[in-house]
Symmetry: C2
Subunit: 348 residues, 2 copies
Amino acid sequence: MSTRTAYTRSLDLKNGVVEMSHGGGGRAMSQLIEQLFGDAFANDILAQGNDQAAFELPRGKVVMSTDSFVISPLFFPGGNIGNLAVHGTVNDVALSGGQPLYLTAGFILEEGFPLKDLKTIVDSMAHAAHEAGVYIVTGDTKVVERGHGDGVYINTTGIGVITDDIHISGERARPGDKILINGYVGDHGVAIMSLREGLGFEASVQSDCASLNGLIGDMVKAVPDIHVMRDPTRGGLAATLNEIARQSGVGMMLNEPDIPIRDQVRGACEILGLDPLYVANEGKLLAICPEDQAETLLHAMQAHPLGKQAAIIGSVIEDANSFVQLKTGFGGTRVVDWIAGEQLPRIC
Amino acid sequence: MSTRTAYTRSLDLKNGVVEMSHGGGGRAMSQLIEQLFGDAFANDILAQGNDQAAFELPRGKVVMSTDSFVISPLFFPGGNIGNLAVHGTVNDVALSGGQPLYLTAGFILEEGFPLKDLKTIVDSMAHAAHEAGVYIVTGDTKVVERGHGDGVYINTTGIGVITDDIHISGERARPGDKILINGYVGDHGVAIMSLREGLGFEASVQSDCASLNGLIGDMVKAVPDIHVMRDPTRGGLAATLNEIARQSGVGMMLNEPDIPIRDQVRGACEILGLDPLYVANEGKLLAICPEDQAETLLHAMQAHPLGKQAAIIGSVIEDANSFVQLKTGFGGTRVVDWIAGEQLPRIC
């Protein structure tokens, strides 16, 4: 047991590493929380300093979403696990058509992880939260022994509010509806995989990870009757559209030439043996809306910086089998099935 | 890519193990979620099947709390990581004086973990949630490679509502206030440590892990002006009271003979070299209230099954140094300092 003066000692953010004591509930943990997390995330609610955050919410339906992030590597072109953890949960809340307001942050740290790197990650979270207009209001820190983690895992859980006139949900896709996306497909997955495989695409392909709540706000304002919105993360466009098709009991027909894919991503996918339709995105959303409002929605998307390359990529059709199909550039069609297994492990 | 019929294949809950594909966003993940989580947690909000849950909340201030659980071993006398993850977050929400309503569940699974054991854990979560009257409304599943996890890590984040007349917070302890606890100290930590060290106390000491929201409801009804409530988990009574003393700018004087400790726990602590005041609890709460309401609160606690051994264990005093002190059975006093490091790693 140390002397009481130890309390005021500063964390060594230059050469220090995570120690088991940082998760022990004592003074070292309190130091880490105050000097690293408290400092970066500072806000009035977090400052309550209790094991829970208390706050008022505007009236409306409450939306809640959770995501654990285990991406490897932790740092990648275009972001790191910290801002990814904010973007991902902000997006999952916002895709309901609601306004994300507050996040929690739960860290599982591996013994020996450099505090310097943890600070970079935490600062990125704070920056991403600030940009998205959300507050990190409570958190938790656990430490596991060397070899029982992978540096840092982060859980974020978000809460927001939707007004009563919005009813966006996966079972609302109807035959005739149009399917839109806000830009290039596959950037995140290719950025990570090329880094992992040492393929040297890092310079050209960056993760698209971004908080989409601003874009979504504009979209919902332009077309309040959007039927479905979802982000094509793990499993990419293919998994997400198959999920929605199944949930709504409909089919989908995509038009391959209309799907925006960067040349570098197409090239990297060929080398890596990946299909861009199955590759994860972290700053993309799929929206499905009535045909007669599709152009209005498209223009609202294209007017936002995160929707400049937005496109209408297909239509919802009747199909008792809930198949997602693709009309290729050569006029044929093929089924875009779910992947049975994993294509890209630990992509988020 | 497998054939579409694979979709309906059942999980092998007898001999199957977690595979990387269970986190890949494709069909295997969907199977795991539907057949294991969806089945155990079934409720109308979870059944929305979106990446976020939407629900109405009763009026009042919203409370939110998050906790990641990394306890080792996963199964222990009196519980497992699953019900612990529910109890812990239910308690953190309830300790605000509010009513916990909804939980999220985020799983980080290690490749190779038996699905049979995962099912036991998930069923325990479902049972604990049912008993506490809360619903698990949305979740997330990630899989990490063998050697990068430790079977299962679980994050739960909880949300609840407090009525406007309740103001329980760590900075409200005032000199003269009484300090109460709802029962025996140290059971959880000793149950885990004796199991880990193979000391054979397992038969006699069980973890106290329990959801305290029922007890807390009765306490708040009896004494709406409780000043502070907090659960002495990691770091035990010592860490929690030091935190509160510091937050409120007060000292505390505990009376050692009044602190309920089981003989077996005292004995195990001697063998393990632990001080019971620093040992984690998972079904205990500390309450601080005005002196003139302490007896009323005590009786309310003792009337509840989880408060039968409740006791008044000390008083809040003036102290510019915010020391927590202990009057021993022999009439002396000693300072109960924070531990600087960890006493018991991965205890929750």
